[in-house]
Symmetry: C2
Subunit: 116 residues, 2 copies
DNA sequence: TACCGGGTTGGAGTTACTCCAAGTCAACAG
DNA sequence: CTGTTGACTTGGAGTAACTCCAACCCGGTA
């Protein structure tokens, strides 16, 4: 797959994908005879995961850690699993934050309704 | 109130509060005889609201708009109300995103559990 | 009087992109 | 065969929203 196809498939922009490769967040990206990047299905799955991790607030430092673990093979699976479990817990914290903000907004909105 | 007290009260750092003032996100901040900022209860409430808006993804451009509306007086209340209602809807979208990420993570975590 | 703990400013550094200019290359039209 | 189009390449500049820092001021205590 070409970079534009991958961008359409995984949700990241072509620029971001190039930036992620340069930053060491994608294990193995091949090149065609023309020098263009060629992405495997594995690459696309990987980038799709990164998209979701990033979209929900994981830092690039964390993602880089996750990537280098993935390159070290199966023996790092427990640690990689733990990173994802921790991130799932982080999602819960964010959900709670949205709820608190929602409450603040509702109070504020009602205060506009009263004095009008 | 001094800036450090406000920081403790509203959740933003002193640096961020100064940055927000410089950027025109706080309507009226007074100064004491010593040249230090003095914050009113209104200021603190305002900054607490900004904290929640920012924490849940509102951009500074939007917050600046909200601030300049607040300075125009009561006639802008309907528009300010609408901004908050729109942001509440945005919170729903973010909640849905967290849910989708959660699902992706669970699938991935289970895939680690299988082959081990 | 010397220091300490607050505050002040302006400016540099950081993260995670995003955009752009200049160049290459393959494919197709005339 | 030549010219244009479109998609890719790189390096580098620009952006948002902070965050940190140096250098300074000022009021109060030992």
């Amino acid at each position: 797959m070409r970079i534009s196809d991958v961008a359409a498939a995984c949700g990241l922009s072509a620029d971001t994908i190039r930036y992620y490769e340069k930053s060491g967040l994608i294990p193995t990206v091949g090149r065609g005879a023309d020098g263009h990047r060629r992405f495997s299905k594995e690459n696309v799955d990987w980038l799709t995961l990164l998209y979701w991790l990033r979209e929900t607030g994981m830092s690039m430092v964390q993602m880089r850690r996750f990537c280098s673990l993935a390159q070290e093979g199966d023996k790092t699976k427990p640690e990689r699993r733990r990173i994802l479990v921790d991130h799932a817990a982080e999602l819960d914290r964010r959900r709670a934050q949205l709820d608190r903000c929602e409450a603040v907004l509702q109070v504020k909105i009602r205060s506009y309704d009263k004095r009008q």
